[in-house]
């Protein structure tokens, strides 16, 4: 929410969070599912999109989150052609994925058309890629989509907090079965797993259930300046592929040229945990 002094403020259950100077509210509406707002900030973050008063994406630091959730799994896959993004209505992850030449088709599933259209209008630099011919946007419930589709994917990214259940850590076995059904052999799933600092209990529940469902479960972290707690974690899951397997120097070089954050060394070392997180998982 924007307070009386024109600061966007977001406080986690832990009692702390972020504050951003706001110039004006460019757009605010209540969609069928949520409150959708675009704020013009007076900061290096530029415009920001919030959903139900929770930070979703900023022009200025989108790359922190999206380089990390995309390039690590895609570069670990031998030849990623088909990618599914659940909850990717902003286009921020899609933008990174299209940097990979092997990719032929990206399916973006988002329940809320208002989010997609708002991003296309107000955040064209992020959402413009959704008009790319390799991209299909499916406006539907992610849960229904994974149950009904017969498409197969090499990489599946779950980018939004709770697209498949009431909250992180509460995926049902039906969800897991469907996700696995959609994966090609040697497929990879990466999901965001919240801030290990601000949401300890949630992270714990999620890891426990993933370990029951996948052979390989590896966590990695990287800072995301505008997310509460600011240290963010993702989980890499597969039955046969380890993170950074299938190293192809040419592919790395090509991607790294176009990145602000990502290098091979940086990626490798993202998988080293602090003791805190090791204990948690």
């Amino acid at each position: 929410m924007v307070d009386e002094q024109n600061y966007y403020r977001e406080i986690t259950p832990s009692g702390f969070g972020i504050a951003i100077k706001v110039k004006e509210i460019l757009f605010s509406t209540q969609s069928k599912y949520q409150k959708v707002e675009v704020l013009e900030t007076e900061s290096s973050l530029g415009k920001i999109l919030t959903l139900n008063d929770l930070m979703f994406v900023t022009e200025g630091d989108a790359y922190h989150y999206n380089e990390m959730i995309t390039h690590l799994p895609l570069l670990s896959h031998k030849n990623p052609k088909n990618v599914l993004i659940i909850g990717g209505g902003t286009g921020a992850a899609t933008k990174e994925i299209l940097k990979h030449k092997s990719v032929e088709h990206v399916v973006v599933v988002d329940i809320d058309e208002v989010v997609v259209n708002t991003c296309k209008e107000y955040l064209p630099e992020i959402a413009g890629c959704l008009n790319d011919e390799r991209v299909t946007v499916e406006i539907t419930d992610a849960f229904d989509y994974i149950k009904q589709t017969n498409k197969k994917f090499d990489v599946i990214l779950i980018t939004s907090p709770d697209p498949l259940g009431p909250g992180v850590g509460e995926y049902t076995s039906e969800v897991y079965q469907n996700l696995k059904r959609l994966l090609n052999p040697d497929g990879i799933i990466v999901m965001q797993s919240e801030s290990p600092v601000a949401n300890e209990q949630k992270s714990k529940t999620l890891y426990a259930s993933l370990l029951k469902n996948f052979e390989i479960v590896k966590t990695y972290t990287s800072p995301v300046p505008t997310y509460p707690g600011s240290c963010w974690a993702w989980v890499f899951c597969s039955d046969s592929v380890n993170p950074l397997d299938n190293y192809d120097e040419q592919r790395y070089e090509e991607i790294i040229k176009n990145c602000k954050l990502f290098t091979k060394k940086y990626a490798e070392q993202r998988l080293e945990q602090e003791t805190l997180l090791d204990d948690l998982i």
Binding site: D3, Q5, Y7, R9, E10, I11, S14, G15, F16, G17, I18, A19, I20, K21, T41, E42, S43, S44, L45, D61, V197, A198, T221, S222, P223, V224, P225, T226, Y227, G229, S230, C231, I256, C259, K260, L261, F262, T263, K265, Y266, E268, Q269, R270, E272, Q273, E274, T275, L276, D278
Partner: protein, 283 residues
């Protein structure tokens, strides 16, 4: 600054920063040098210390910073015996340094006695080692203190405030030169170097100065939930020692047991910088 609806807010020059729910202001006074405040937050961060309305330490997350400033250089030295901490009056850095059994003496050079006294009173889990007999507290200006201390220290840690207010003289070529001369053979200096996403200009300037003085200058980073931008950089500097050139395995295993963040793998990973920060510190 605790405002009416009781949120502590700290906004960087980049226009964004942190907000923390506050229950009450426990202490607020102007020392000779700065405004010193202790706030009781209504959050898992517990009590927090601010100087001139800038976040210094919280009970809840101070270890993110203190473990990183201390153990990265300490573990890279085969036998650190004498350590100088500049600034750091809250005692958190001293506490981490003393986890190393090799240490015989830690000098804490803090200009502001009020910071030390307030920390001892309100932040006992952070200031707990300040009365340790190995610690010598000098309430002095480090700029003067360091001038005649040739070849005295194995490790020097600059745990300063930001490059404004009383800390400003700690970000100069002259000061860095004196620091280098105070290091013994094989010595290492680490200085806090601000947030890579909120203080780009300060970082650029600082690394440029450091490189004029020290033959070896590297940067490492780690997340800090309550510092603006969410993560922090430190400069690792030496005449002869490269980062990661040595790690004391035995001490490392011993100290990891007493840490929440630090471990060997995590240490090894600190020097892999995101591309944009690499550019910033190499400029």
């Amino acid at each position: 600054m605790a405002e009416e609806e009781l949120y502590y807010k700290e906004i960087t020059p980049s226009g964004f920063g942190i907000a923390i729910k506050i229950k009450e202001v426990l202490f607020s006074e102007y020392s000779k040098y700065q405004k010193v405040e202790i706030l009781q937050s209504d959050s898992k961060l517990g009590k927090i210390l601010t100087l001139d309305d800038l976040m210094m330490a919280t009970e809840g997350d101070e270890y993110f910073y203190h473990e990183m400033i201390a153990h990265i250089p300490m573990m890279n030295h085969p036998c650190p015996k004498s350590v100088l901490v500049i600034g750091g009056g809250d005692g958190g850095t001293v506490r981490e340094v003393l986890k190393h059994k090799t240490v015989e003496k830690v000098v804490l050079c803090e200009i502001d006695k009020m910071v030390i006294d307030v920390s001892k009173k309100y932040l006992p889990t952070i200031a707990c080692e300040l009365d340790n007999p190995k610690v010598e507290i000098k309430v002095e200006d480090a700029i003067e203190y360091i001038k005649d201390k040739k070849d005295m220290f194995d490790i020097i840690l600059i745990d300063s405030t930001d490059p404004m207010g009383p800390g400003v003289g700690l970000f100069t070529e002259e000061f860095y030169t004196n620091v280098m001369n105070s290091l013994k053979e094989g010595g290492i200096m680490v200085a806090q170097s601000e947030s890579p996403v909120a203080n780009e200009d300060e970082i650029k300037h600082m690394y440029k100065l450091l490189k004029k003085v020290f033959p070896i200058v590297s940067s490492y980073t780690s997340p800090i939930p309550t510092y603006p931008g969410g993560y922090w950089a430190w400069a690792f500097c030496s005449k002869t020692v490269k980062p990661l050139s040595y790690i004391d395995e035995e001490r490392c295993a011993e100290i990891t047991k007493q840490c929440k963040i630090y471990n060997k793998d995590y240490h090894m990973a600190r020097f892999a910088l995101p591309t944009f920060l690499d550019d910033l510190t190499q400029a």
